[in-house]
Point group: C2
Chain length 204, copies 2
């Protein structure tokens, strides 16, 4: 790990720091994570951290941006590439949903929920850049299915979050209560039941 010119390192730092921060935020939450520890995990000193991010809050923004937007873009691309029947696309999306949350990404909605109540900036950013885009992808599938006569007529923007809600619940469950309790909720079984019932309900 010796090489890497100064310039290369400087360019790579923000990403490394954001990755370290994501790991710690998702383990401990935002408030409970110390900047000291983020720095240590990124292999730098605390002061160095502040050369790249002016405040803890800005670091949080960067984490959300870097971890989520590429993932979202990948989903959009995958959906755009699908040409088969809309029900199959929707089912495919739900099937791969659990795998989407690899690498701490699943923790981000939880972090946002914790912070967004008090922080208007993060609320707006998340609503516009993440939720709106996600809902548009799902609504797009629904509309395509309706146009092709594969789905009954529904209010697509109202239906989109219904598609997503159990996926979110599965993600939240897994990295909070599911960590400590086998409990009364089996995410996999829930998602299977959801896909089944959703598609039944949508048939014309």
């Amino acid at each position: 790990m010796k090489p890497a010119s100064r310039e290369r390192r400087k360019a790579a730092r923000p990403g490394e720091i954001a990755a370290a921060a994501l790991a710690l935020f998702s383990e401990q939450g935002f408030a409970a994570t110390r900047m000291q520890d983020v720095a240590a995990r990124a292999g730098i000193a605390k002061g160095t951290l502040y050369l790249y991010f002016p405040t803890k809050e800005e670091l949080f923004f960067a984490v959300v941006r870097e971890a989520l937007l590429p993932r979202l873009a990948a989903v959009e691309a995958w959906v755009a590439g699908q040409v088969g029947p809309a029900p199959e696309v929707l089912r495919g999306l739900l099937v791969q949903a659990p795998g989407m949350g690899r690498g701490g990404v699943a923790a981000i909605p939880r972090l946002v929920l914790s912070e967004a109540g008090r922080n208007r900036a993060i609320a707006r950013f998340y609503a516009e850049e993440v939720v709106a885009r996600g809902m548009r992808v799902v609504a797009g599938i629904l509309e395509r299915g309706m146009a092709r006569g594969e789905f009954r007529a529904v209010d697509a923007p109202a239906m989109a979050p219904v598609v997503f809600a159990p996926v979110l619940l599965a993600m939240l469950w897994r990295d909070t209560i599911g960590r400590h309790s086998r409990g009364p909720l089996d995410p996999a079984a829930m998602l299977a039941a959801h896909a089944e019932n959703l598609l039944r309900g949508l048939t014309p």
Copy 2:
């Protein structure tokens, strides 16, 4: 507000403190709420607070217990009193769901999500005393509907959280992102679409 004997006040205190704490927790979150402020809101000094609750965490437990369990019991009672067709009971539950979250109760799942990742005690308590009971109520309706031939055969324990997920999403949305952004998600429309599609999917 002068009267009230010492004994009466002492008996009433824990409830008053828990109510004050719920209000502040739901506005600002657990970590961001200072014990000082809880005390002020309850009209007592900080030290007094510690006569009733040994730590901030114990206060949190009490808040969850006092705010949620009575509500849950009311729902159980309501459902038990229903004798009509299961689809109507389910629809009735979804219709009154938004009203259920009056008075900051809706904030509790968010608080639990923030804390449960690090706190095994709260995770277990919530899983067993709240989630399991809630799921049992919903699963009960589903089973009754199946027995009466009003629903197709489904895996009731897997289906129950699917029923609940959009309700949860609506609650979370309202008191986080929905506070700051009209945004891409209309809780009422979502719940209507959910009820419609859920019952369609469940018809035999």
